[in-house]
Symmetry: C2
């Protein structure tokens, strides 16, 4: 591959720091970023001479220019998992490349290993998320709606230096908690409700992801053994997570222990976190790869009893050579609110 067209803005941001709409062309001769008049000023402010990227307004680029960008490149990569079929056809026609090559998440795979600067931002995102959870424990009262709680989270993030939420906050109480991917509703918090809160902020583009299942007024007896089982497995996974650990086995271990108790792991055990809230590596029973130092992943086992309740406990975790560091540090014992 002698060149690549990078279209996914998250990948462009990762490679160049540019946070706008446009296309990055990596060629044998030089690198180009093509955007439109709306973003030119901002892009120029982001880049320095050392970045060696030529920035252009797409209106200044002729059909001839397009044909010449890759004139000495036999094979040019493109992001087959990002661009539409129509865009692919448009690239074919515009760039007149001999051989367009699928890149199979090349850049996304590079993004798995975080550098120090990225880890600092992820740490800060997790810190703000922890502080928000602390705030919520005093904020949540019986009679509030799930949406009110989600809204308070958003407000807290904005008021405390975050870019905003990293993803749509899930607040699922009572029976709503029984869905692995519940939506936040107008349901009011009632005494005895488990409340699953899945949330996280974004800080300078980097995401935090944490889930706690807490309880309104008291912990129902029937939920305790399920909570304990989920927590035990979450802690065991934390204990097992380190460079060299085969990802598949982490997930299998949890599923096996859940099955011993009549449950199963209904979703992935976790996923990478970074500029995207969900990125490589996916922590599931099909992933034969190993964890590596400086990956940042979630650890989020959950059990869902249909129509009754659910429990999920999730941390964002930094993998190291000898173990792992929990970036989200909030309490995981029974927490009572209201």
């Amino acid at each position: 591959m002698q060149g690549m067209i990078v279209s996914n803005p998250i990948n462009v941001k990762y490679l160049t720091g540019i946070d706008s709409e446009g296309v990055l062309l990596i060629t044998r001769k030089e690198n180009h970023y093509i955007t439109d008049s709306r973003y030119l000023e901002e892009v120029h402010a982001t880049l320095t001479i050392d970045d060696e990227i030529i920035v252009s307004n797409f209106t200044d680029i002729s059909p001839y220019d397009y044909e010449n960008f890759f004139s000495f490149c036999e094979n040019v990569g493109f992001e087959e998992n990002y661009i539409t079929y129509a865009t692919y056809k448009n690239y074919l026609q515009k760039y007149k490349v001999n051989n367009f090559e699928e890149t199979e998440y090349l850049i996304e795979k590079g993004r798995m290993i975080k550098d120090d600067e990225e880890i600092e931002k992820l740490q800060k995102a997790c810190e703000i998320t922890d502080a928000c959870f602390n705030h919520l424990q005093n904020f949540i009262k019986i009679g509030m709606t799930e949406k009110q709680i989600a809204y308070e989270i958003e407000k807290y993030f904005l008021d405390n230096g975050a870019d905003g939420v990293a993803f749509e906050t899930i607040v699922a109480s009572g029976k709503n908690s029984s869905k692995p991917h519940a939506r936040t509703t107008e349901k009011k918090i009632e005494a005895g409700d488990p409340i699953t809160i899945d949330f996280g902020c974004k800080y300078k583009g980097y995401c935090a992801d944490m889930t706690r299942t807490i309880f309104a007024e008291y912990v129902p007896e029937k939920i305790k053994p399920v909570y304990d089982l989920v927590l035990k497995n979450q802690l065991q996974t934390l204990n097992d997570m380190k460079e060299g650990m085969t990802i598949r086995i982490l997930s299998k271990n949890v599923d096996n222990d859940f099955k011993l108790h009549g449950y199963s792991l209904a979703h992935a055990l976790g996923h990478g976190v970074g500029l995207d809230i969900h990125e490589f590596p996916y922590i599931n029973s099909k992933n034969d790869n190993m964890l590596k130092a400086n990956m940042v992943v979630t650890n989020e086992p959950g059990i869902y009893v249909p129509g009754e309740f659910g429990v999920r406990i999730e941390d964002t975790v930094l993998i190291t050579k000898s173990g792992c560091i929990n970036l989200t540090k909030s309490d995981k014992n029974y927490i009572i609110v209201g």
Copy 2:
């Protein structure tokens, strides 16, 4: 075309009411919606027997089933502007269709003409947006940041029955207003600032879109002629909008008048609004089509003086046989806040 694979969730929602992740297969024999376990319950609750859609969990569908869905369909449409190149290849391999056909925004074009139920929702979205603007006029004070104002808008929408914001709110004050697509910053409102607020809520999935440029404490003399010129053209466009009007001419008229005064129209004059914030028809100087009754479009001329200030005034408008109805009804005279 004897069948179609509908992958764009907005198009699926438009055709079926289903609001989830999945694929709709329209075939000669029957219609299928394929989703996953997370959404099954909700999808079943949305549909009635009259919808004649067979809902399945993708885990229950065999390779043989995939090959048979379109067994009597020679040509099957797909959304080339929505699905990725990788998904296209996956469809080719899975559905074993003889001839996949590009559908060139077939459903999106159908969405241009709104029915009564859609118009009611759009009206309601615009009403809440108007009420929010009313609220803002008392809320905005000198010294507040743009972000605080954007945040208040979001809060107002959530507190007043909307789904949330229809798009990321733009609050651009002072020099920031000189960018056609400004971002909301931490800049504080100062006396003499023009403040361009481009915002709208979503109500039951339908979007409102309105812009007003208002002023902190006083209207600077140098801005008045530009404001008046933008407003004059916005009103003239409202006057011209009706079934049968050629879209291109609307845009040309504004651009011509701007040029007479030494400016130009730097962006499209407007766009369709519905389930998407930007949809067909696009109101620009290249669109040779005519407006039709029951289209809902924006009318948003703007002038931007680089490094100094900008003025944009926008309404969401329902086209009728004899004229148009402004769905956003907020005042467009000079408005002073702070």
